[in-house]
Subunit: 74 residues, 6 copies
């Protein structure tokens, strides 16, 4: 797999949040590497409230890491 994560530093909190989203998706991507399967699953979970909440929780967990890595962009 090509380099996709060379730093946890971002310029802004928003970029950090978007990095957290990338990390959450990569966690899925390593487990299910077939992009077609992932695409097939999208309509199901993207219209299920709890699935969206669970996805948001993973993002929140990664955002903790990214925010700490950036000393909270203070």
């Amino acid at each position: 797999m090509a380099d996709w994560l060379t730093s946890l530093q971002t310029e802004t909190p928003q970029q950090g949040f978007e990095l957290a989203i990338t990390l959450a998706r990569k966690g899925v991507g390593y487990t299910q590497p077939d992009p077609e399967v992932r695409e097939k699953l999208r309509p199901t979970y993207a219209e299920d409230a709890d699935s969206l909440t669970f996805a948001s929780h993973v993002i929140a967990t990664h955002f903790q890491t990214v925010a700490a890595a950036n000393n909270y962009w203070k």
Copy 2:
């Protein structure tokens, strides 16, 4: 997407809590960008106790981050 997160600093813990809510919702919004779909899902999860608890958990996770970013408003 326009800038929506320029700082994790807030003046009060309550504003920090409300920022945590925003972050939790943004996590959903990036995953399901269609506001109509999200609106359609609201009645279901907003009347399901576990769904509300899960949503509250995501907020709690983000509030940890925001509180640390503000040195707990000490």
Copy 3:
């Protein structure tokens, strides 16, 4: 909404735990602002073991924050 969270500091760990409960409930309250709906949901989740465990998990997450904010009441 009136001020409900002006500080994370509490005098005792027990008050900190109770603040964590308040935070967990507020996370639900912001998502489902109608107190009648919340009241209607109570009998269901309060008699479901997993629902109670999930609620306890949210409290635990907030208690981490509150405890850190109080330097663990050392």
Copy 4:
């Protein structure tokens, strides 16, 4: 409610783990204050593997807090 949590300090890690269990149960107790209802729920969740895992997760979350409060009993 009488005082039940006056300190997060414990003499040993094991006592800290047991305090984490107390905290997890208190989180349930505040949400469902009726001990008869809680007793009625016990057989169900205590024989369900996932319910036990979820309960163990709440204990783990509280143990993080208690361990930090005791500087990991170093």
Copy 5:
């Protein structure tokens, strides 16, 4: 109950990971103290992917604690 946790210090990260597993199991054991019941549940959850993931999550949470207690074995 006999002493089973006298220190969070381990010599290697792997021993720390194994301690995290012990902590996760103890969280279950305190909630369901009957070893026969736990044994009966094992075949069910050990062949359910989500159950295994949930168990792995509890281990991950405890591993955070153990790793911090050991200053990450730096």
Copy 6:
């Protein structure tokens, strides 16, 4: 079991992320040591959106630990 975890230090964040994946899988492996059973479960959870999200959450939790161990590769 042979040594599989001798350090939490990695050269890059990406290697740290991959270590987090290893840790998440090891948590499963210790609970279900039979590789044939794990292999049998794979098609089910790898095509279930929530299962993938849960797996991603465990990775996120371990990544917090690994990132802290590496001082966020600053």
